[in-house]
């Protein structure tokens, strides 16, 4: 690798250096202003995302640690854009709720750096590094609101759970290394699938993989490792939670996909376990969400359930499953960010938007952000013409195509259940309370988050009507995994 090749690393450099530069930036500003700092962070993230798309790497691999192909670039760009959008939400939010000045955008960039590392690593060690740099930043982002004890609780809970999942992951990694003698993803996966020329995997190695799945299961809140989600979602600042719920889960799934998508069908032992996990995740997440009155808890359970659908696609890989999973992750990220963006816009000085009953009549008093929230929820419920529908269609198609009929039926039945609780929020927005004058007063709209919300709503609807290009892109990516 020469100096000339450094431009390939530009997205990573932008994210990490940007994070480092933002941290002391406040000291040099005459009047440090959280809003400006967040927008600066968003601009850096946007630049990183664009550079990830535009700069085509000339080398496939660096130091057996990082790969540079379209797949990794895709997830790097996605993580950067999600950081950008979250920081746009945070800019208006930070004027109303104290989430610190420079540390929030700086940590978001660090987290995005960790996520891109996660998606690009070709070695289990790289995955571990990415996972940790992502999680460490997220702990602090969740606890950023020092005046709110719930925020601290949220950060602490995520920290404890994160530590446990790290322990599982590291232990699993060690066992796999002992068994297969390699830390490279390709090598250890080849051992798992019993490819030619590799030693047969022993029980020790299989146990390692199980521990690895536990570690990743925690991060993506799959049943039965989901219990942290509701409290963490409820307490954390909405922009941070939105970021956690989308970007971190999507990047961890990028790793998951490398495991299952790379080398033919996952081993029967693993796919049975994943089958049960997916079914229970969908059932539990959707049913538990039914009784929630707090919108962030509701979205927490909904997000658990949504990950179940992604897992269904993952089980149905290889074939059409990987593509369906990536498409769904993109759609999910857009709609979930849109929902959390609307929640941050609804959160004022006195507290975050909590009980959905506070939204009575808000649909007519605040039409723009309510419309964005409704579009996000309709899409999460999987109704056309939104990205969520095409995503769910792709998932059920690949599941049926791979013969997982019962899993699809469970998925459809739980999706029917989910329609009810998503609609409840829409009902409160538009159908209860009536008089717009009596609606709770929420803060005025701010431009950056309004812009981000509008863009996300348009993306959600656009992908629902013209998904062709993204579907093709995603299909071309999956041919490249590992």
């Amino acid at each position: 690798m020469t100096l000339m090749d450094f431009h390939m690393l530009l997205p990573y450099i932008l994210l990490s250096m940007g994070a480092c530069l933002l941290l002391p930036a406040g000291a040099f500003m005459r009047r440090p202003d959280a809003r400006t700092l967040n927008i600066m962070g968003a601009a850096i993230a946007l630049a990183a995302g664009i550079s990830a798309i535009c700069i085509h790497p000339s080398q496939a691999d660096i130091g057996n640690l990082l790969a540079f192909d379209a797949y990794d670039r895709f997830f790097t760009a996605a993580a950067s854009f999600m950081a950008c959008v979250s920081l746009l939400f945070a800019s208006g939010y930070s004027a109303r709720r104290p989430i610190g000045g420079e540390e929030f955008p700086s940590l978001a960039l660090f987290a995005a750096f960790g996520m891109s590392l996660l998606a690009s690593s070709t070695s289990l060690l790289g995955v571990f590094l990415g996972l940790e740099s992502m999680s460490l930043s997220l702990y602090v982002m969740l606890a950023a609101n020092k005046s709110d004890p719930l925020s601290g609780e949220s950060g602490l809970k995520y920290l404890v759970i994160g530590a446990i999942s790290t322990a599982f992951f590291a232990y699993g990694l060690a066992l796999i290394y002992v068994d297969s003698g390699t830390l490279s993803l390709a090598g250890s996966i080849a051992a798992l699938s019993g490819g030619a020329g590799t030693a047969k995997i022993t029980g020790l190695g299989l146990a390692g993989w199980a521990l690895l799945i536990v570690g990743l299961g925690f991060k993506t809140s799959l049943f039965p490792f989901h219990l942290w989600a509701p409290d963490v979602y409820q307490g954390g600042p909405a922009p941070a939670v939105g970021f956690l719920s989308t970007a971190s889960k999507a990047s961890v799934f990028a790793v998951f996909l490398k495991f299952t998508g790379a080398v033919g069908a996952p081993r029967a032992e693993l796919s049975h376990v994943l089958w049960v996990m997916a079914a229970l995740t969908m059932i539990f997440g959707n049913i538990a969400a039914l009784t929630q009155n707090n919108i962030k808890r509701l979205l927490a359970y909904s997000s658990i359930a949504q990950m179940g659908y992604v897992l269904v696609a993952l089980i149905a890989a290889p074939g059409s499953g990987e593509g369906a999973a990536i498409f769904y992750l993109v759609a999910y990220s857009a709609m979930e960010l849109c929902a959390f963006g609307a929640i941050s816009a609804f959160s004022g000085k006195d507290g975050e938007l909590g009980d959905i009953r506070e939204l009575r009549g808000a649909g007519f008093k605040y039409p723009a952000r309510s419309a964005a929230l409704s579009i996000a929820l309709v899409s999460l419920a999987g109704l056309p013409p939104t990205a969520g529908f095409i995503g769910k269609f792709g998932i059920f198609y690949s599941a049926l195509n791979s013969g997982y009929v019962w899993l699809s039926i469970i998925g459809i039945l739980t999706a029917i259940v989910s329609v009810y609780y998503y609609l409840r929020v829409v009902v409160y927005l538009y159908m209860r309370g009536g008089e717009a004058e009596k609606a709770v007063a929420f803060p005025e709209a701010d431009f950056p988050s309004g812009l981000a919300l509008a863009a996300l709503s348009v993306i959600v609807v656009y992908l629902g009507i013209f998904p062709g290009k993204l579907l093709n892109l995603v299909a071309s990516l999956t041919r490249l995994t590992v």
């Binding site: 056309p384 095409i390 059920f396 049926l400 329609v419 159908m431 062709g468 579907l471």
Partner: protein, 498 residues
């Protein structure tokens, strides 16, 4: 001409987006009226061209573009005589709905009309799709506008009814989605061509058990919408609590999408499974005719009564389709149009009474004829039409259905006639209670206004016109229905179970 169908479908939705930005109620109403009239004018124009023989053949207009290439999904639309009739009915009722809501909806006027227009796009799309995926997309796109129309603009337990409507229909349609994907995959594996085009899928060879399962998925999705007994329980609530325009659209066209789906999708795709399930379909249809009539007789609320009468009437339509011969299918399609006109008119009239008296309770009325003769005359006229008086529209449709039925199943035909007698009982008793007897107190009750007459006269004209000259509609139906019957044979001799 290729753009016509696209224009017909998306003009309302695009105008709805514009409407959302407009605040002045009067402008909104006029604009919505203009758009819905445009729709009506276009469909009438196509009808006229078809009548003059300028359009002919099985498919009058069609277009086909690849849309989502990855899944072989096409943006394919087709219009034949059946869809033409239903599209014209839709356009007519929507234009009337804007007129009907002129005085009734005074708050959030732009949202109301925007939802109405979005709904029109969805319904038009369902009637014109030639691709199953596109069909499903429009099918579901109808839900949200209707949900808003009931939930925001309804009365009584509007939220409960709106959610009930939504959850019932989404349950049916999501199960249908699995069947759609299933038949798509089976067809793709068999032929190597992955396509959602209805004409491709119709030739799929499926094993009896699998086709039975897939057919059940489709049947559930459509039966909830029709609605067939015992899946009808959402309908009375939705009708009762919806605003007048919502009820008119719901009864007038939304229910027809279910019957249309059975006719266009479920039976042609799975003829063998359909044949196997015929006894079930006959049983629930006939049960529905009697059960709904019986329940209708006990209703105190006029809208609820008419809602149950819809359940009963639509069961005839399904019977006609299920028999699957050219006479009965033509009768069914004709009856869909008739029911839309007559029941639409009845709901409009109940809305007018409700506007004046603020109640739909039958016992609050009585002797209306002495107070408002013109209104009473129209009401009686539409009731007579609904119960199938010869010379009026419903008679022709029912007659054709029962004739077709008689050929294949004489005893079913007998049951159908008995059902018509029950219809007579509850509808005549409704007319008697409201129009005749000692007059109740009607303070400030005025007879029909000019705008209201403008709504009712075209409907009344159609009732008579179709009654005495049904060939005007049947001529358009003839070719497509014959083609449909000859393309697929539903042969009940094939066995009791798949």
């Amino acid at each position: 001409m290729n753009g016509t169908l696209t224009f017909l479908i998306f003009l309302p939705a695009l105008s709805a987006l514009l409407l959302l930005l407009e605040k002045n109620p009067k402008t909104v109403r006029l604009f919505a009226l203009f758009i819905t009239s445009c729709e009506l004018a276009i469909s009438l124009l196509v009808y006229w061209l078809c009548w003059r023989g300028i359009f002919s053949g099985r498919t009058l207009i069609k277009l086909d573009y690849p849309w989502i290439a990855r899944f072989g999904i096409h943006y394919a639309l087709a219009m034949d005589g059946v869809s033409l009739l239903l599209v014209t009915l839709t356009a007519l009722l929507f234009a009337l709905c804007v007129l009907v809501s002129w005085r009734q909806v005074n708050e959030r006027v732009s949202l109301f009309h925007a939802m109405l227009l979005f709904l029109e796009t969805g319904i038009m799309g369902v009637f014109l799709s030639a691709d199953l995926f596109l069909f499903y997309l429009f099918w579901e796109a109808m839900l949200i506008p209707m949900f808003f129309l009931i939930g925001v603009f309804g009365h009584g337990r509007r939220v409960y009814s709106a959610v009930k409507f939504f959850v019932f229909t989404i349950t049916g349609s999501l199960l249908m989605l699995l069947s759609i994907i299933g038949v798509y995959i089976i067809h793709g594996r068999e032929t190597g061509v992955y396509s959602f085009m209805l004409r491709d899928l119709a030739h799929t060879q499926v094993s009896p058990v699998v086709s039975g399962v897939l057919f059940i998925g489709f049947l559930l999705g459509f039966a909830v919408k029709v609605p067939l007994f015992p899946l009808h329980t959402w309908l009375p609530d939705a009708h009762t609590d919806a605003p007048t325009a919502g009820s008119v659209i719901l009864a007038g066209v939304l229910l027809k999408t279910g019957a249309y789906g059975i006719l266009r999708v479920a039976f042609p795709l799975f003829p063998r499974a359909a044949a196997a399930f015929l006894p079930l379909i006959f049983t629930i249809s006939v049960t529905g005719i009697f059960y709904a009539a019986w329940i209708a007789f006990a209703q105190k609320d006029m809208k609820r009564l008419i809602a149950y009468s819809s359940v009963s009437h639509l069961a005839y339509v399904v019977l006609g389709i299920a028999v699957w011969n050219d006479v009965s299918i033509a009768g069914s399609v004709l009856q869909m149009v008739n029911h839309g006109i007559t029941t639409g008119a009845l709901f409009i009239m109940v809305g007018m009474m409700d506007e004046r008296m603020h109640t739909r309770d039958i016992s609050a009325y009585g002797g209306l004829w002495s107070k408002a003769p013109a209104m009473s005359a129209f009401f009686l006229f539409f009731i007579l039409s609904s119960l199938g008086l010869p010379g009026l529209n419903n008679f022709t449709g029912e007659f054709l259905i029962l004739t077709g039925l008689f050929r294949a199943h004489p005893w079913l035909c007998a049951a159908g006639f008995a059902g018509m007698v029950t219809t007579l009982i509850y509808l005549l008793s409704l007319a008697q209670k409201i129009l005749f007897g000692p007059p109740k107190e009607y303070r400030g009750f005025t007879d029909l206004s000019g705008r209201e007459l403008a709504v009712l006269i075209p409907l009344a004209f159609l009732v008579v016109f179709i009654g005495v000259y049904p060939s005007a509609l049947l001529r358009v139906l003839d070719t497509p229905v014959r083609d449909m019957v000859s393309a697929v044979s539903i042969n009940p001799v094939g066995g009791i179970m798949p």
